[in-house]
């Protein structure tokens, strides 16, 4: 029955070539840990994506309870950590996952660097990957403020001061990020919007480009 359903859809939308582009490829021996255990270094990219998916899912659940305003933000986090069923696990996954995704991405970057996989014809994919790295750091920076505890507040303040010390445009960057002259109510809503809508949008676009290029070019050959 699934076969006939698939054929029905395929006849109308011609999905087989798309499916083949996405999924129907082979994994060469030199990147398969089943054949050479040292090839586990090729897994870090996939693991980064795996944890990114966890981040997106856990973040979606967190927004069900989180309130981005300065009087309620802290108490909504406190509530979801202590009162909501499994809230402590969901927040824990998002909190620790943020560090883990940086670690995995870092290891993936090092693997690509030391295997020279960024060389022609894969230059553009490296650049996109670095942009993903910066977006991830941006997600970490904006997400750190959201629980609105002292650690979040003062770390953001330090970050703002660093941004403000950039010559000429520093003041503008600072005001744009903070939504005013101080770290306050505007900053929190702004960081929330950046963390939940702007950066994830950019991230998904860059990831799509990253994966499109790796499928198009294939994985780099053995050393």
């Amino acid at each position: 029955m699934f076969k006939s359903m698939y054929n029905w859809i395929d006849e109308r939308l011609d999905v087989t070539p798309m499916w083949r582009d996405i999924a129907d490829h082979e994994v060469p021996e030199h990147v398969n840990p089943a054949h050479h255990f040292s090839a586990f270094v090729y897994c870090f990219g996939g693991l980064t994506f795996f944890i990114t998916v966890i981040q997106i899912l856990s973040g979606m659940f967190l927004t069900m309870y989180y309130v981005p305003d300065i009087t309620n933000a802290y108490y909504s986090v406190d509530y979801l950590q202590h009162q909501v069923a499994f809230g402590v696990i969901v927040r824990g996954m998002h909190h620790w996952g943020a560090s883990l995704v940086i670690v995995m991405m870092f290891l993936h970057t090092l693997r690509v660097f030391f295997t020279g996989s960024y060389k022609a014809p894969r230059e553009m994919n490296w650049v996109v990957g670095m942009l993903i790295f910066f977006v991830m750091l941006g997600l970490g920076f904006t997400g750190y403020l959201l629980p609105w505890d002292n650690k979040a507040y003062f770390a953001t303040k330090v970050g703002m001061e660093i941004a403000g010390s950039v010559p000429w445009i520093g003041g503008y960057i600072k005001e744009l990020l903070a939504g005013g002259t101080i770290v306050g109510a505007q900053t929190l809503t702004r960081f929330f919007a950046i963390h939940v809508f702007f950066l994830p949008g950019v991230l998904l676009t860059l990831l799509a480009a990253h994966f499109f290029m790796i499928r198009k070019q294939g994985i780099s050959g053995p050393l």
Binding site: D24, E29, I89, T115, D149, N150
Partner: protein
């Protein structure tokens, strides 16, 4: 004008769509001859193994999150002058860099734009700087050594920054807020006063928070309006309510409701349950909570 299935047309579409009518012969699969050896189909063979490894990692990750809950300190207080700021660990290298005299004050441009800009710029443009054909890292001494030096420097800066932070905590006798809060919370629960909520110290503590009447109230959704710890939310706080209302008044309020907001619980709770709750609430007196 619909496209028919005329054989003299070069491209035949499905209906009036832009989907091409497929010919009977199957499309040829892609060629993998560029990587001879024991290659393996991605779906399902390799993906299945990858998923199994992923599940092991996921379980380990879940164990970590259960063992070590995410930290939460006290509510942000902009007037708190003694708080030692601490960015997340992956920003520490740059935080530390900006503490050195040659990367701050008069040379701040070097610290914020110069060194990080050069390092990240070089990283971003690595494929255009390292254009040789050689891929093995030991045959690319310049690129590899620059990467290793930056790595060691970043790790060192992170370590120094963390070391300074722990040293400062020790010097000032400060326990990090998220740890202090956990300790206070545990003590408060042990003393039967309900969980400690930072910033709500002026709220009267609960008396006998382990009383079964409290769990009846939780199940009856009283906490939806009165707060999870009865500290008040949309509805008023019930802590210290015993000072304001007698047990009879409480029974009346719960049974028949009050004003617009408080619904009548007659029929939803048994008389015995209402009595139990009212008795417990009437014991919520500020003096008893001290």
């Amino acid at each position: 004008m619909a496209h028919g299935h005329k054989s003299d047309e070069k491209i035949v579409y499905v209906g009036d769509s832009r989907i091409r009518q497929r010919s009977a012969d199957k499309p040829t699969p892609p060629d993998y001859t560029s990587f001879p050896g024991k290659s393996e189909a991605f779906i399902p063979n390799f993906l299945l193994k990858e998923w199994m490894a992923g599940v092991v990692i996921l379980v380990g990750f879940l164990v970590l999150t259960i063992a070590e809950p995410a930290p939460l300190g006290y509510p942000a207080d902009p007037l708190n002058g003694s708080f030692i700021p601490m960015p997340d660990w992956y920003f520490l290298f740059i935080y530390q860099l900006l503490k050195y005299p040659y990367a701050s004050e008069d040379y701040i441009i070097l610290g914020t734009i110069g060194i990080p800009g050069l390092a990240f710029g070089a990283l971003l443009l690595a494929p255009f700087l390292d254009t040789g054909k050689e891929r093995r890292f030991y045959r690319r001494p310049i690129a590899s050594s620059m990467m290793i030096v930056s790595l060691v420097a970043s790790i060192y800066l992170t370590w120094v920054s963390w070391h300074h932070y722990t040293e400062e905590l020790e010097k000032n006798g400060v326990i990090p807020e998220h740890i202090e809060r956990e300790i206070k919370s545990e003590e408060s629960i042990k003393a039967g006063k309900g969980r400690y909520i930072a910033g709500k110290e002026d709220v009267v503590a609960l008396v006998k928070a382990d009383d079964p009447a409290f769990s009846i109230m939780q199940q009856a959704q009283c906490i939806a309006c009165h707060g999870a710890e009865l500290e008040g939310a949309n509805g008023p706080s019930l802590r210290g309510i015993g000072d304001a209302l007698s047990k009879e008044q409480l029974v009346d309020t719960i049974t028949n409701g009050k004003n617009e907001g408080m619904p009548a619980f007659k029929g939803q709770l048994t008389e015995a349950e209402i009595d139990q709750i009212a008795t417990w609430l009437s014991e919520q007196k500020a003096a008893a909570a001290e």
